[in-house]
């Protein structure tokens, strides 16, 4: 248990020493991740392992202790994030041949905090790891590049604000329940909830605030698009797949059990107001994330908003407070990890070869990078939640749960978001890989083997989870059982729904799809043979495009892809801009800063201010 914490620290230290030597750094990084994964593998089932460090530091009259325990739900998250991290670190091996900066040591620290967050058994440890992740991410995002500074600052501010609110929340919780242990405080909170209603709700809300910030839920949905656009691509892959789940885990671990055990008045006989609160935020994130993703031109921003939408789905699953929805949400967390990692790896590969992340400047890369294309294709099919791949099962479970709880608005929001997902996902596919290949990319090659292997692994992973969901569902249900939920251990192939007669067998779905494919292929083979023509040979109303000065770039339709749709939403989005609101807060602080500096630069007011201070004190002394 302790090794998996010591190893990252030691590795981070070694990486920092060898930072200039790339041939040492990235293999070391890989080995360390491999070790963590293997160690986590052996930890499965050993839920009783615990390590406590006692201190003499007193808070509220009790001595603090830091406990790390192998809790099943944490293991579930930690294990799958370790798998993804390992795959990404293989990718980094090839990806970082060209980069000047080196993000490895900081990244290793984040992996340390990652494990810490998932294995923390008390809030103080959790908070410490949480904060560690916040500021290390800042350095990882900037990675010594000035152009990333503003975005990283934005992230840092949100991150620190979240941590601050979490600190107050933890303190409230500790004072209310007399314990900083996560499970004990959850239990205690349920006990004291009715007598200390306002404070308990405040504690829950403050914690939720922090979790929402980290998982980019509605009012804080902008940071992924800002951060992902500028950060180092391999690290961004980690961030978008693993780090964005940090808010999900504590919600599953703490908020859901607590809210689920409370007996709050229900609205319209369906759910209590906390469920609706969480659910509405989730629904808004899903819908808004989708709409904004449709409008993006930068592919990393597009998938950043896609992540926001996916976090919305997960939150909807939690909001249903139904065991199927809960399982579905946790399942979706892992599914999203896998598919987002796959997608971002391909984006990183594209950027590695072309150096371009604006979609309308790309196109036709399928001619040059077919395997990257295939990975991306499977990735977007999974992200769209289309059956033979892995995004479907979890989305299906969440929708089932929402329908069985009669949460109609949320179900409609979910359908809106996942149909809208086709729009932006296809747009990315068409703009990056399909269409005309510009001349400047005529000579690029497929990425090297070290980058191909992780992509192929991700493809297999997505297909495997999609066809045999038990790969994830079995550990998940085992973990949930160990935590104390009354769930059946899932079977390898089928998923249980929340409604009547709604078990689906995903392997069967896959086989049926194969059947359809065979029929279709027969028809295809029956047809006369076809010849391949070059990409320029296109119907253009009889015109020769080159005579009009139209090259491959101009011949692509990919700049304002959904212009009519955009025009429908633009007035709405222009009026309400939370981004602008946050930015104006930042600007106001900067104006104030100039004022304060001016105050200290001039000397005239010194004595006057002194007298004002004294007067204030006198006032304070007199008015009793």
């Amino acid at each position: 248990m302790v090794e998996i914490f010591i190893i990252p620290l030691v590795t981070a230290f070694l990486l920092a020493i060898f930072i200039r030597n790339k041939k040492v750094v990235w293999p070391l990084f890989l080995i360390s991740n491999l070790y963590i994964l293997l160690k986590l593998w052996t930890l499965f089932g050993k839920w009783e392992i615990e390590k406590t460090i006692y201190t003499n530091y007193e808070l509220f009259g009790a001595k603090l202790s830091f406990t790390l325990s192998n809790n099943p739900l944490g293991w579930y998250f930690a294990f799958f994030s370790a798998v993804i991290t390992l795959v990404i670190s293989v990718f980094s091996l090839g990806f970082n041949q060209k980069t000047k900066e080196n993000v490895a040591p900081i990244w290793m620290l984040i992996i340390f905090s990652n494990l810490g967050i998932f294995f923390a058994a008390d809030w103080i440890t959790f908070f410490m790891m949480w904060e560690l992740m916040g500021w290390t991410s800042f350095f990882a995002i900037t990675n010594g590049r000035d152009k990333a500074l503003n975005e990283a600052k934005y992230y840092l501010v949100l991150s620190l604000l979240g941590a601050s609110s979490m600190l107050i929340g933890i303190i409230l919780l500790g004072a209310l329940t007399g314990s900083f242990e996560i499970f004990a405080s959850a239990y205690g909170l349920v006990q004291v909830f009715y007598s200390e209603k306002a404070l308990s709700i405040a504690a829950i809300m403050l914690l939720l605030f922090a979790f929402f910030i980290k998982s980019a839920i509605f009012p804080f949905y902008m940071w992924p698009s800002k951060v992902y656009a500028v950060g180092p691509e391999d690290y961004i892959t980690f961030m978008s797949s693993v780090m964005i789940k940090y808010g999900i885990y504590p919600i599953a671990m703490f908020i859901v059990p607590v809210v689920g055990s409370l007996d709050l008045p229900k609205i319209l006989n369906t759910a209590n107001w906390i469920q609706y609160f969480v659910g509405y935020l989730g629904a808004i994130s899903a819908v808004l994330g989708t709409i904004l993703a449709i409008f993006q031109t930068d592919m990393k921003k597009l998938f950043a908003y896609s992540s926001v939408a996916n976090m919305g789905y997960i939150l909807l699953g939690f909001a249903s407070m139904n065991i199927v929805g809960f399982e579905g949400a946790l399942f979706h967390a892992v599914n999203h990890m896998v598919l987002k990692a796959a997608i971002f790896l391909t984006l990183a590969a594209v950027i590695f070869r072309t150096g371009e992340s604006e979609m309308h400047k790309l196109g036709g890369l399928v001619y040059r990078m077919p395997i990257t294309f295939l990975t991306f294709l499977l990735g977007i099919i999974a992200a769209a939640g289309i059956p033979p791949l892995n995004g479907f099962g979890s989305k299906w479970m969440i929708i089932q749960a929402l329908m069985s709880q009669k949460m109609i608005i949320f179900a409609i929001a979910m359908i809106f978001a996942s149909t809208g997902a086709f729009m932006y996902l296809f747009r990315a596919l068409a703009s990056i890989f399909l269409g005309q290949l510009p001349d400047r990319f005529k000579d690029i090659k497929e990425v090297p083997l070290t980058m191909l292997i992780p992509m192929i692994i991700m493809m297999i992973g997505m297909l495997l989870i999609g066809v045999v969901p038990g790969v994830v569902m079995k550990p998940l249900t085992t973990a949930l059982r160990a935590v104390g939920y009354n769930v059946n251990i899932a079977s390898w192939t089928s998923l249980e729904g929340a409604l009547k007669n709604s078990t689906i067998d995903l392997t069967l779905v896959f086989l049926i799809f194969l059947g359809g494919f065979v029929i279709s292929a027969i028809m295809y083979i029956l047809g006369n043979k076809s010849e391949t023509v070059p990409q320029e040979d296109n119907y253009t109303g009889g015109e020769y495009p080159e005579e009009w000065g139209v090259n491959a770039d101009r011949f692509n339709y990919s700049y304002s892809f959904y212009q009519p749709f955009k025009e429908m939403f633009e007035p709405l989005l222009e009026k309400i801009s939370i981004d602008e609101f946050f930015a104006s807060i930042g600007r106001n602080f900067e104006y104030m800063s100039a004022t304060v500096q001016g105050l200290f630069r001039r000397g005239e007011g010194a004595v006057l201010l002194f007298s004002i201070g004294v007067l204030l004190l006198i006032l304070g002394g007199w008015i009793i």
């Binding site: 099919i381 339709y557 749709f565």
Partner: protein, 294 residues
């Protein structure tokens, strides 16, 4: 083994019925427009001709995409109960059906975008926008039926309407049926919701670069999609059927409505179409949903 045979049987049956409907549809439109119209078997001739012609492709994605598109629709079709039968015993889950259908559309979109023709890409962009337009009201209608029946199995919903015609959801929930009909019109890409095809405007949009067997596959995809979509409506609102013949007849009734609307309407611009779908059918569907749930 017998299951594999059933899969093939059902698949080809759907293709057959779909093409048959298409042919009759053309005939009906012609008669509405006071023409003689082609023979009812014209669709079969067209497909036969297309498959026998040589065709051009731009890259392997086009081949893969077209095959995927038909495969997706055929797979969807295998999930839809036809007069209580499905090719393979499944729970015929509605959500699975809705999502599986998407793979067909995705395959088609991918294939045509791979050709690199801007007309095709514009067409796809419109089709996807339209999809967002109709899926939401259609799902809202479905949601009501799912909630009232407590199941998302299409078969169970169809069975629950057994008995007299008064048990049909079409009679019980007329508002929902109307909304679903309008959504179906858009789903089939018929006028007034055919902005994605628009031959005069964007040269038949997605199909602009499809030739020979690729166009043939697109035809077949369209045929199967007609079959699947009408079958879903029949199962949802008209109580399925006891034998295949009645089932196809009911499907044809649904298709007839669509074709008649198609014959007399002009075309919406894409944003008009989406706005229309989100206002009129959506509010009808929501009204129905509210009536059902509360």
């Amino acid at each position: 083994m017998i299951e594999i045979l059933r899969v093939f049987l059902f698949g080809f049956f759907a293709i057959f019925i779909g093409l048959f409907f298409m042919g009759i549809g053309r005939k009906i439109i012609a008669r509405i427009q006071l023409r003689l119209g082609p023979p009812f078997y014209q669709a079969f001739l067209d497909v036969g001709k297309l498959f026998s012609r040589k065709s051009i492709t731009h890259n392997f994605v086009m081949d893969l995409g077209m095959v995927m598109s038909l495969a997706g629709l055929v797979a969807t079709m295998l999930f839809v109960p036809i007069a209580g039968h499905t090719a393979i015993k499944t729970s015929s889950n509605l959500i699975v059906i809705m999502y599986l259908m998407a793979i067909g559309y995705l395959g088609m979109a991918m294939a045509v975008a791979a050709s690199g023709n801007p007309n095709a890409t514009i067409g796809v962009s419109r089709a996807l926008t339209m999809m967002l337009g109709y899926e939401v009201p259609f799902f809202t209608v479905m949601l009501g039926l799912i909630i009232i029946n407590g199941t998302s199995s299409l078969e169970l919903i169809a069975n629950s309407q057994a008995g007299s015609i008064l048990n049909w959801n079409m009679i019980k929930f007329p508002l929902g049926f109307i909304a679903a009909e309008i959504a179906l019109q858009a789903m089939m890409g018929e006028k007034p919701f055919d902005a994605m095809i628009a031959p005069a405007e964007i040269a038949s949009g997605p199909m602009v670069e499809l030739s020979g067997k690729y166009l043939g596959l697109a035809f077949l995809t369209h045929a199967v999609s007609i079959f699947v979509e009408t079958a879903i409506i029949v199962n949802l609102f008209m109580g399925g059927a006891s034998n295949i013949f009645t089932f196809v007849l009911k499907q044809f009734e649904i298709y007839l409505i669509t074709v008649i609307i198609e014959a007399v309407f002009p075309r919406f611009k894409i944003e008009q179409a989406v706005k229309f779908l989100w206002t009129v059918p959506m509010s009808i569907a929501l009204l129905q949903l509210v009536l059902i749930v509360f």
